[in-house]
């Protein structure tokens, strides 16, 4: 029989308290430090791959160049706050167009909701910056101080030369990574090559240094020191997981129906009448947040799945089927426990909740793309004078004053003609503009600029039959074949 060949003694049992067990202690006890054990396996490999991808994206994206022509930054992704321009590859966003960002955030939120509905806390476990950098910092820690037991021994030791060396080395590497992280964040706001040369030569302004060191500090604190406490106490996301998960979401699950009753297992013992869990607590010792997954789904679980790798390793050694801990849904657990087959992957993925999310994401993405494609390079704001609303001129006609801001977001200068629509007999005066006649004005709108015009419109009093008449300012650019009309109002007595 397979069971007799299994060798429980190769499976080392861990002396470790899960969070649940720790919770039974008085509330004022301090944090029990988590020493996660290194683990290898399929989930771990996926996590390394995602980590590499995320870090590469984060560090390299600011270095991607994008030619926009002279006098404009050539960085593909740049949030240029001093000049109030956001550059995203071919898109240039002005401050008043910031609502595009809202659409982007809504898409991101719904994608997150959908991912959570399907795959549980995949964001937390794989792609969240807190997880990515904590993983990286733990790798460094493992590399310098050794694995779980070595680290626990080292921390228990009194301070010595070798301990000091190791600790200093670890914190030095952590700080270096933090500095690179903090610096790379600033690269999204300041031209990357300039930032690096400026940082080395000390030529940056104090504010930039402040933010570089601020983000260095937060990275060091959050990934090095705070770790799982960020997820458990600081982050709001775990708190509303309950609303986003349903019984078809994949969560890291201990298959209780298979594992219980748990108990120590000696080589050669029968597996009859007992569960597959040999209570080795490997799953607890590898957990980065220090929980026991066998207690069921809990707030602290970030869904990283490292316990799956740990348990699969053990199951292989004791020669039982893999997947005692696995990504699985609550409904499947119930079905399995009742001896029924699990729901098909298709019906798990396609259900009203995911369909609604998919529709919303597609709809908003299409709306955003349409809005971006159709947006005009020209924007006009017409402000009617509030004081005075209108004046009577000496010939009895009524005049209104307007301040018109013309935003030319393009890179070409425009020659435009301004006329007024909706008010027969209206005459127009634009301060400082050339006028061929009394009803139109020629405007030279310089490129990439906001121009302000003072405009007076006057009409004979008998034309007005109400105290507010809707009018429109029409900007005609024959070269670009562009006519844009902007509504305003004309007020009279």
């Amino acid at each position: 029989m397979n069971t007799t060949q299994a060798h429980p003694e190769v499976v080392q049992s861990e002396d470790v308290l899960s969070r649940q067990e720790q919770r039974s202690q008085p509330l004022y006890t301090g944090r029990v430090k988590v020493y996660p054990k290194a683990v290898s396996g399929r989930v771990r490999r996926v996590k390394w791959a995602v980590l590499g991808l995320c870090l590469a994206l984060y560090y390299l994206l600011p270095w991607v160049r994008w030619d926009r022509g002279p006098n404009l930054p050539d960085q593909a992704v740049l949030l240029d706050l001093p000049n109030r321009r956001f550059y995203l590859f071919w898109i240039e966003i002005w401050p008043q167009e910031i609502y595009y960002l809202t659409a982007l955030l809504i898409i991101a939120s719904f994608t997150l909701f959908m991912a959570t509905s399907i795959g549980g806390r995949v964001w937390c476990g794989f792609t969240c910056p807190q997880t990515v950098w904590t993983d990286l910092f733990m790798k460094v820690e493992h590399w310098i101080e050794g694995d779980r037991n070595a680290r626990m021994r080292l921390d228990a030791q009194p301070m010595s030369g070798s301990k000091l060396t190791r600790k200093l080395a670890k914190h030095a590497v952590w700080l270096l990574i933090s500095l690179l992280t903090g610096g790379a964040w600033i690269m999204y706001f300041v031209d990357a090559p300039h930032l690096v040369t400026g940082f080395v030569t000390g030529g940056l302004d104090p504010v930039t240094y402040f933010f570089i060191f601020l983000f260095t500090g937060t990275t060091y604190m959050l990934a090095g020191m705070a770790r799982e406490q960020v997820c458990t106490y600081m982050c709001p996301w775990p708190r509303f997981q309950a609303a986003l998960l349903d019984e078809d979401s994949l969560v890291v699950t201990y298959r209780q129906w298979r594992g219980e009753p748990r108990g120590k297992h000696k080589k050669g013992q029968s597996w009859e009448g007992r569960g597959d869990c040999i209570d080795c607590k490997q799953c607890v010792s590898v957990c980065p947040t220090g929980i026991d997954i066998r207690d069921g789904i809990q707030l602290e679980c970030i869904g990283c799945g490292l316990c799956i790798d740990a348990c699969d390793g053990v199951m292989a050694k004791v020669d039982r089927p893999l997947g005692l801990i696995a990504f699985d849904s609550e409904r499947n657990q119930r079905l399995n426990a009742a001896g029924l087959p699990p729901v098909s992957r298709r019906s798990r993925l396609v259900r009203p909740r995911t369909i609604i999310y998919a529709f919303l994401i597609t709809g908003i993405t299409l709306a955003l793309l349409t809005a971006l494609t159709l947006r005009s390079q020209l924007d006009v704001n017409v402000l009617h004078d509030r004081n005075p609303l209108f004046v009577t001129l000496s010939d009895g006609s009524i005049r209104n004053g307007y301040t018109i801001h013309v935003l030319n977001m393009g890179q070409e200068e425009r020659q435009m003609t301004l006329t007024v629509d909706g008010l027969p007999g209206a005459e127009i005066t634009v301060v400082g503009a050339e006028q061929d006649d009394a009803v139109s004005a020629r405007l030279n709108v310089t490129s990439d600029a906001v121009l302000t015009y003072r405009v007076f419109v006057s009409v004979p009093a008998d034309v007005l039959d109400e105290n507010a008449t809707d009018i429109a300012f029409v900007f005609d650019d024959p070269d670009a074949g562009l006519v844009s009309s902007h509504d305003s109002v004309f007020r009279g007595p």
């Binding site: 004078d385 509030r386 004081n387 005075p388 004046v391 001129l393 000496s394 007076f456």
Partner: protein, 297 residues
């Protein structure tokens, strides 16, 4: 004090040894991070007291080594702001308002400075944006100017005021009290008022009345208001043929004005009491701003 530290059997925590009616106080010290921040705050406060203003005396106070004062800081900031303004102020020196308006940078500066000065000094009567107020505070955003609407005219008006007793060069003109001083009879006042209204096509008086009015107008009014009634800037005499009436264009209002004219007063802004007059640059910026409201005359 007990010689041996006693531990509470339930919680495992040490007690302080204090006991009241059999209840013992547990020794749960403050969190370390809290305590250290508290100590750091004490040290910080001592350092602060040495460097910054801290101890009050009976008169005055200990200013600290740095002798910091928010008032002095404000004065420095004001001086710095004046320093930054002086670039424009120097360029503006000796330029006429027209020349200021031709330089886009100076124009922007003058409009901003003029708007601020206008809100402080002029808006109580003329309203924000020069919208004017009923009862003789003229609209500055239109094209009708009693004393002239060129930049120079506006500057003289602001500088010396109108009928101001502070300035001997003030703009001065008086319209006689035709009715109340008995220069004209009630009927004559009414006739000339009808004639004045007819100049801008108003009123429904008969030809006979208008002829009488025209005769009185030619005798009494043309010296200031002109033969055709279009007014004269030198005397601040309004144009009687247009659509703008400072004291109202109803027949009764015109009669009242002929009978016993109301004569508006504006301070001489250069010569205001207690040395509070506006300086030359401010007056020029105000001129540019006021001219911009309605584009002058």
């Amino acid at each position: 004090m007990p010689t041996k530290v006693e531990k509470d059997s339930v919680t495992g925590t040490e007690t302080t040894g204090h006991e009241w009616d059999g209840i013992k106080e547990l020794n749960t010290p403050l969190p370390k991070w809290w305590l250290y921040i508290f100590y750091a705050s004490i040290i910080w406060s001592v350092i602060y007291c040495i460097f910054m203003p801290s101890v009050p005396y009976i008169t005055g106070y200990f200013g600290g080594i740095w002798d910091y004062s928010q008032r002095a800081t404000v004065e420095e900031q004001l001086a710095a702001a004046h320093q930054r303004q002086s670039v424009f102020l120097d360029r503006m020196a000796g330029l006429s308002p027209e020349q200021v308006a031709e330089d886009p940078e100076l124009l922007t500066f003058a409009l901003a400075g003029g708007a601020a000065a206008f809100a402080d000094n002029c808006a109580p009567c003329h309203a924000l944006g020069g919208a004017g107020n009923p009862g003789g505070y003229p609209v500055l955003a239109d094209d009708d100017w009693l004393w002239g609407g060129t930049m120079d005219d506006i500057m003289v008006t602001i500088r010396h005021g109108i009928r101001s007793d502070l300035d001997t060069n003030t703009r001065l003109a008086t319209m006689p009290n035709f009715g109340s001083d008995g220069l004209l009879s009630r009927e004559q006042v009414a006739a000339v008022a009808d004639y004045v209204l007819s100049l801008s096509g108003h009123g429904d008086a008969g030809a006979e009345t208008l002829a009488e009015g025209a005769e009185i107008f030619a005798a009494q009014c043309v010296s200031c208001h002109g033969a055709d009634g279009t007014g004269l800037h030198e005397f601040g005499a309004p144009n009687l043929t247009d659509a703008i009436w400072l004291y109202g264009g109803e027949r009764s209002e015109v009669i009242a004005q002929v009978n016993h004219p109301r004569l508006g007063v504006m301070p001489a802004w250069e010569e205001r009491a207690n040395g509070q007059g506006l300086d030359d640059t401010t007056i020029r910026m105000l001129t540019v701003y006021v001219h911009s409201l309605g584009g002058g005359e």
